[in-house]
């Protein structure tokens, strides 16, 4: 089997170039999809029979929460690849994920609080789902803090990768918290084996928003990856040629 393509993925100049080429291909569809999904969710979709117009915060809340979890999965996988195959670019990918993931987690928590006040009657309760999502935010912040706190790049990569892998246990806890324990948070409406618990004209903008957020994440991650590679390789000769 030919492994050249895999080994080229470990080459910083190669990844730097690919990331630059790919960014607009993710960024433009992301912008268009998010704009269309906002219009569909805030204007076209009908109000909910229980929650009225207030349910529309779902269109930001749910995709943010999914992305927060998904990005953690990408970050931990990249960290594991970096640890096992000693691939520096993989560590750079993991480092580029953390900030975006932390923001999506914060957005999901904040929009959830704004939603919780009118619907449940409280901004915050120490419910298993809510607490697990808050722990996810702390995992992201801890990962970033650990990286920032270690000067030696190789040691920072290894230590933060171990933290990212340890934090993976929180992912199934977030997903299944509403099924394992009694929770005030409702069960999944879309991310389940059964058919979604909402009609098509409510669901379509939600899925568009999910795809838009995912592409947005890819675009922002690639931009951050380029910056991270430049920072790491600042003494390498290929940088001089690229930046000339």
């Amino acid at each position: 089997m030919n492994w050249t393509w895999f080994h080229r993925l470990g080459s910083p100049p190669h990844i730097y170039r690919i990331a630059g080429t790919l960014t607009p291909w993710f960024a433009w569809p992301a912008g268009l999809l998010i704009a269309a999904a906002l219009y569909g969710g805030l204007v076209l979709a009908p109000p909910d029979y229980q929650q009225g117009e207030g349910f529309r915060i779902l269109y930001v809340h749910a995709p943010s929460a999914w992305l927060a979890v998904m990005i953690y999965g990408v970050m931990a996988s990249a960290a594991a690849v970096g640890l096992i195959w000693r691939m520096k670019v993989a560590h750079a990918v993991a480092a580029s994920c953390a900030g975006v993931g932390a923001w999506f987690t914060a957005v999901s928590l904040l929009t959830g609080m704004l939603w919780g006040k009118p619907m449940w009657g409280t901004y915050w309760v120490w419910d298993p789902r809510l607490t697990a999502q808050l722990i996810l935010l702390f995992l992201y912040l801890g990962y970033m803090g650990l990286r920032a706190g270690i000067d030696d790049l190789g040691r920072a990569d290894k230590a933060s990768a171990v933290l990212a892998i340890v934090g993976v246990v929180n992912i199934p806890i977030i997903r299944y918290s509403v099924e394992w324990w009694n929770s005030i948070h409702q069960a999944p409406s879309v991310m389940k084996m059964d058919r979604p618990s909402m009609p098509f004209d409510m669901l379509a903008p939600l899925l568009m928003m999910l795809l838009g957020f995912t592409l947005y994440f890819a675009a922002v991650m690639l931009v951050r990856l380029r910056a991270e590679i430049l920072r790491r390789e600042r003494t390498a000769s290929w940088i001089r040629e690229v930046l000339r």
Binding site: I165, V166, W181
Partner: protein, 158 residues
């Protein structure tokens, strides 16, 4: 073992160890992780009845009793197996209604009545336009079923 295999073992080992610790910890603190207890758990004596706890379930239709001229109210929380009567003084969230989820925080009295000082509404995972909800209700004799089938109702055109 090559160094790479050793590192794979290390990563798998970390994951297995932390997962095991997580499972053990969550099992040990099961009662504390539980956000609320349902009426069946209260009837079985699983709820910490000597302390304050949260009681959750559905508001049984036709049991909501509001005292005229005051904020006193009472209703029955059910999980369709056991019932617990709740008394409460105060304002309830907008989503508080019959046949909807509710979480009451308070203390169980010796007479079996739950005295709540906080009421939270819990909504389910079903979203639908008001017209669809109306059609489903009419099909089920004016009551929203616990697991409404959205496909069964006419879709709204937008």
């Amino acid at each position: 073992m090559t160094p790479r295999q050793r590192r794979i073992t290390l990563v798998v080992g970390i994951l297995a160890g932390v997962s095991l610790a997580g499972v053990l910890a969550l099992n040990a603190f099961r009662e504390n992780v539980m956000f609320f207890f349902d009426p069946s758990q209260v009837a079985a004596g699983d709820a910490p009845i000597e302390k304050r706890f949260r009681l959750g379930g559905m508001v049984r239709p036709g049991t909501v009793d509001r005292e005229a001229g005051s904020l006193d109210m009472s209703f029955v929380v059910t999980d369709f197996k056991h019932d617990v009567r709740v008394v409460y003084t105060g304002v309830v969230p907008d989503l508080f209604r019959e046949n909807q989820g509710v979480v009451a925080h308070g203390r169980l009295g010796s007479n079996g009545v739950f005295v709540a000082d906080e009421i939270l509404a819990k909504h389910d995972e079903n979203y639908m336009p008001p017209e669809v909800a109306k059609a489903i209700k009419e099909k089920h004799g004016g009551v929203m079923p616990v697991n409404p089938d959205i496909r069964a109702a006419p879709q709204t055109g937008t």
